[in-house]
Amino acid sequence: MINTGLRYVGQAIAYAAFAALLWFFATAPTYSPIKPDAAMIKLSFIHVGQRKVECRKMSPDEIARLPPNMRLTLDCPRERLPVLVELELDGKLLLRHELIASGLSHDRASSIYEKFVVPSGRHQVTARLRDSARTEGFDYTRSTDVELKPRQNFVVDFHAESGGFIFH
């Protein structure tokens, strides 16, 4: 049987070991999601593509057949076109993605959130977006030369109402 004094020493050691475990793993070892000299480019936007089928003016007969409370002059199918987006870094394609419109009827916005870890330093960033029915070329393009500092978070956003791509 261990005497009381030794038992208290044992308890103190057990509590100290427990506390040390908590103290250490509560903050250490430190974690770095990217290397300290790297930077990050994030491409993210929410954008509604153009209508897949253009609105059509309905004839008086068609309007008359509709219930009185639902009589509109235009027939606008809900479905939206997918949005095609490209991101280039120094002329090299980082991403090319066709974003399907969300919603069961594909009548809502297309969205994207992608991130790329890149070396810091001078880069040329080019973003392109097509939201129309055209088969070639892009509706929006923007390119910039940027000096990316280590740990910099370079954001490529898009707002059609602001003129297209926005670089933060």
Partner: protein, 534 residues
């Protein structure tokens, strides 16, 4: 090979528990109170969290400053409270982890215990978000990482139409509304769900232990307080979304899975989390299957309720009499809750091997190991002892002491004890043995003494087996050991998976004691003299 590996777990655990018992005593052994300690840490986190919240600004622009003020200006109380909040939360993760490992290693998740194991899994899914949202609120570099990483994790799920991570693209895109939502989840949402989940987790356990022993609670709180004073929890640099966080002081207790996001993908993290949770949920359903539940023999049950009082899992209850006998109630077993420990059979007053008139069929019994079999095994063991040493009287004279050992299947390998002068009978739980068996063995001179080998005190595989047996022998719990049975001929060894050498030492000491006592001789009944009044 696999069997040896599986056996190594309980053996190793037993050794560690023994060390802790030596320091803390079995009553205060933290490894015997892991669930209660977790709940205690939860309450410490709640109380300290309420204090921290009193000074906390629930806004993106002022949260960081308010926490910094509390940490540095009011370091003596606010800072300590903040540190206690963090360290108690981390401590809870540690005790949860050890609790799970222990229950798994000792097989205490199978059979009727599946429910507590199963409901423990959703608890994990509440504890971790609770901690993660807490880190979010500090709004420092770690909060920034947690906010972005958690959003990326959630964006994989088809919950949000727009990416949630867009809320953290730039410093301008962060909104107070989102921050308030996190504060609500951390302060009210998750804690309430967690309390409900704890209640569900304990629902099928009778007399659940929700508070650790006072000494252990005080010691744990003191350790956390000293830790808080020596190394207070500090914020990192404020969140700045124009930069990517690096060299983050990381809480590995809560964020262990997060690096998988960077080195794998959010889908991989979900695969690991959902996959491991599913595996945990399915574990109790894997073989070996549970033994058949206890059954009631109505013709022998008078509805006394002792089995109800002793069942550790609320598996036995009393119901109105259904067979027309002149008793008000009868015992009813819920097979879904029964762990087949046999404690109910050991508590039944009809489980007496001393009866001569009828077959030994108790009011409640284990089909897998009925009381009749226990008596047969006892008598067979006694016969083998007699074969070794002759009658009790000659045995004592010849120096060959006879010991009959009863052991539980969760403890040490009792079969290894079978040597010259020692015979063994194995039980589901030591409390399956009614005290009348001790009476039978000792007063009928089937052996010179009885060794009871069970789990370690305060850590019975079936929760109360050891405790109930102690109380029955001490005459504090029905069915009592009769006073005519000399207690010095009973040796209780609550040693769990003790080493063979340790058991052998105890056995030798008991043998020596019995040797000194000599053969059992009944105490003469005092004669009374009655005088007739003239």
């Amino acid at each position: 090979m696999l069997k040896k590996i599986l056996q190594a777990g309980p053996w190793l655990l037993s050794r560690i528990e023994k060390l802790y018992s030596a320091a803390f005593t079995p009553a205060w052994n933290p490894l015997y109170h892991l669930g209660a300690l977790t709940i205690f840490f939860f309450w410490v986190a709640v109380v300290s969290g309420v204090y921290v919240f009193l000074f906390f600004e629930t806004s993106v622009t002022h949260a960081y400053e308010s926490v910094e003020w509390l940490t540095h200006t009011q370091w003596y109380l606010g800072g300590v409270m903040r540190s206690l909040h963090r360290y108690a939360s981390d401590a809870a993760v540690v005790t949860i982890g050890v609790h799970m490992v222990k229950e798994f290693v000792t097989g205490r998740y199978r059979g009727a215990r599946w429910f507590s194991w199963f409901t423990g899994v959703p608890l994990l899914w509440m504890v971790f978000p609770l901690g993660i949202t807490g880190y979010w609120l500090v709004w420092d570099q770690l909060a920034q990482y947690v906010a972005i990483a958690t959003s990326e994790l959630l964006d994989v799920l088809p919950i949000f139409s727009d990416p949630m991570a867009r809320n953290f693209l730039t410093n301008e895109s962060v909104s107070d509304r989102f921050f308030t939502l996190m504060a609500f989840l951390h302060l009210i949402g998750f804690p309430i769900f967690l309390l409900f989940a704890i209640w569900l987790h304990l629902m099928r356990i009778s007399r659940p232990t929700v508070n650790p022993p006072l000494g252990l609670a005080v010691g744990s709180l003191a350790a956390l307080t000293v830790l808080s004073l020596l190394w207070p929890a500090l914020s990192q640099a404020p969140a700045d979304f124009s930069k990517v966080t690096t060299a983050i002081g990381f809480d590995w207790f809560y964020l262990l899975a997060y690096p998988l996001l960077d080195y794998g993908s959010p889908a991989l993290v979900w695969l690991v989390l959902v996959g491991s949770s599913t595996l945990l949920c399915l574990l109790p359903m894997l073989p070996p299957w549970r033994r058949p539940a206890a059954v009631v023999s109505l013709s022998n049950c008078n509805g006394c309720g002792r089995c109800v009082a002793d069942c550790p899992y609320n598996a036995v209850s009393l119901a109105p009499r259904s067979d027309g006998l002149a008793y008000e109630e009868e015992a009813v077993v819920n097979a879904e809750l029964c762990t087949a420990c046999g404690i109910c059979a050991g508590a039944c007053p009809t489980s007496t091997p001393l009866r001569r008139q009828s077959e030994l069929v108790p009011g409640i019994d284990l089909p897998g190991l009925p009381m009749r079999t226990v008596r047969e095994q006892t008598l067979a063991a006694a016969a083998r002892l007699a074969g070794v040493a002759g009658t009790s009287a000659t045995a004592a004279h010849s120096g060959a002491v006879r010991i009959l050992a009863y052991g539980c299947e969760s403890g040490a390998n009792i079969a290894a004890l079978r040597t010259a002068g020692v015979e063994v009978v194995s039980l589901a739980c030591i409390a399956q043995l009614p005290p009348s068996f001790l009476d039978l063995v000792i007063t009928r001179r089937h052996a010179d003494g009885v060794l009871l080998l069970g789990c370690r005190a305060h850590d019975c595989h079936y929760r109360f087996g050891v405790e109930w047996m102690d109380e029955r022998i001490a005459g504090q719990r029905d069915p009592y050991l009769r006073a005519r049975v000399p207690q010095e001929r009973i040796h209780r060894l609550w040693a769990g998976l003790a080493s063979a050498a340790e058991i052998e030492r105890e056995l030798e000491a008991f043998r020596a004691r019995l040797q000194a006592l000599g053969p059992y001789r009944p105490v003469p009944v005092a004669q009374s003299t009655y005088e007739v009044a003239p």
